[in-house]
Assembly symmetry: C2
Homo-oligomer: 286 residues x 2
């Protein structure tokens, strides 16, 4: 199999930047494309990229792998504009948090002789920009590979080798429909909850003196990039609404147990959640 040595990262934000740092540390030749000059300079200074530019023509012509770490709705336009500069045999990928809505469209725009592999690294941060990029967030993180009818085994092998190399843990192959359904529950619903929790605070309450780790943990992701997450929510609307409804139903069961002074049901809910949480940790460490 072809050895991939030259990688271009488009978008040196938190995710793209973290990739760049990790890849450079592992000896890959990494080029960075970024809209802002500041991001490019920070990445160069940090040794995360060999060279940087605002547009990708030159880098695309010599890259073995390209990671487009832009917002989901920017990917197609990017391929339309710059796809022609990509060299044959290149493996192109993304880092988008939703897939179904554009899988087919992207497959239509892949340059001939290249392949697009849909990827979702489950590692991010609530902050924006290269200054918050950190390769440690990738270590042991889950990585989702989304297979379509166009996906080759070779592409999966190449990407798996790359991401294992920079520290990702469990690499899971799935399809776009399953991905979006489960991600609505594991990623988008938690964000919807965190936002609603902090927004339900009494304006006049002096909450800050009364919090412990639980409130801190549950609201960390209430610090949210509104443009990106609006796009992710709206682009996965039906799945997310389904997850919100399931959660609302569970919370209603718990609320009713409190209203009814029903200790037995309340404890059963706690025992169930405890078993599930312990099960999750076990699966993680397997």
């Amino acid at each position: 199999m072809k050895e991939d040595k030259v990688i271009t990262i488009v978008g040196l934000g938190v995710v793209g930047g973290s990739y760049a740092i990790a890849l450079s540390k592992k000896g890959y030749t990494v080029y960075g494309v970024n809209r802002s000059q500041e991001g490019l300079e920070l990445a160069l200074k940090a040794g995360a990229i060999k060279e940087g530019a605002h547009t990708p023509e030159e880098f695309f012509a010599k890259s073995d792998i390209i990671v487009i770490a832009l917002y989901p709705d920017q990917i197609i336009g990017y391929l339309e504009k710059y796809g022609k500069y990509i060299k044959k045999g290149c493996l192109i990928s993304d880092v988008a948090g939703i897939k179904s809505m554009f899988v087919d469209k992207i497959n239509e725009h892949v340059p001939q002789g290249c392949e697009f592999l849909f990827c979702h690294p489950m590692a991010g941060r609530e902050k924006r920009g290269f200054r918050y990029a950190d390769d440690r967030v990738l270590q042991g993180a889950n990585f989702l590979l989304v297979k379509t009818e166009n996906t080759s085994d070779e592409a999966i092998e190449r990407m798996t080798r790359l991401v294992k190399n920079i520290g990702f843990g469990n690499i899971r192959i799935t399809d776009a429909a399953t991905h979006d359904k489960v991600i609505a529950y594991t990623s988008q619903l938690p964000h919807a909850i965190a936002v609603s929790l902090i927004n339900s605070d009494d304006e006049n309450s002096e909450t800050a003196s009364f919090i412990g780790d639980s409130y801190r943990d549950l609201t960390r992701i209430a610090n949210i990039n509104e443009d990106l997450w609006c796009e992710l929510f709206m682009g996965n609307k039906d799945n997310l609404l389904h997850s919100i409804t399931s959660f609302q139903n569970q919370l209603s069961v718990l609320k009713k147990a409190i209203e009814d002074n029903d200790d037995k049901t309340l404890k059963e809910l706690f025992v169930k959640s405890t078993a599930r949480r312990i099960g999750l940790e076990k699966k993680k460490t397997q």
Copy 2:
């Protein structure tokens, strides 16, 4: 003011055990009372206590401060049974997560010449028992002092000195009604949410491969001590139901924005939550 040197901790669980470790490190003479022999032996072995026993008579007779780190509903019975052994001038306290329901009752059972100061250290863990005790969880944590009509300034000063000494950060004086109202929101509601989130998972879903830090953070406290938390929920029922309802309303607003494809409202919710979360961090570091 009197210098407090001898402390008895009743209940060497996660919270009591963490106190014991921290106090011993700071040179206090610490006695431990615990139901299980295993907890006593672990605490002795860890150097967290000087001596341990299953009942407190001997230790109470020589203690300057007593911390009763039992479940809320056990405190009154404990004072009834062992209050007579407590020496005059002793400051007695608790670590309970709710207050209003028993403040008056406890004040009736305080031995003459002693004072009971209601305390709520905002530091815990989702696990049980001394083996999970760790003084690091106290470092910088919030500490709530709940004042009643019986509370003296001297008691507040003695307790403040003690808990500052073992690392607590912001020490806040409040009253029982305010305490229970705010705690319903900052502590009990997050637990209700975490339990409902993990319980709303599809039984057949292979969630573990699809999670990132957000889901891990939001479900950590779904691993919950069912007896303790059932008591805390039921003992603060009205406040908690109010908090759950406010949260449900917020989540409904967000859900409706998604249903209506209302990007503007959704982004406004995100901007609001982001500002609040940043504000929280700022207050913490002040």
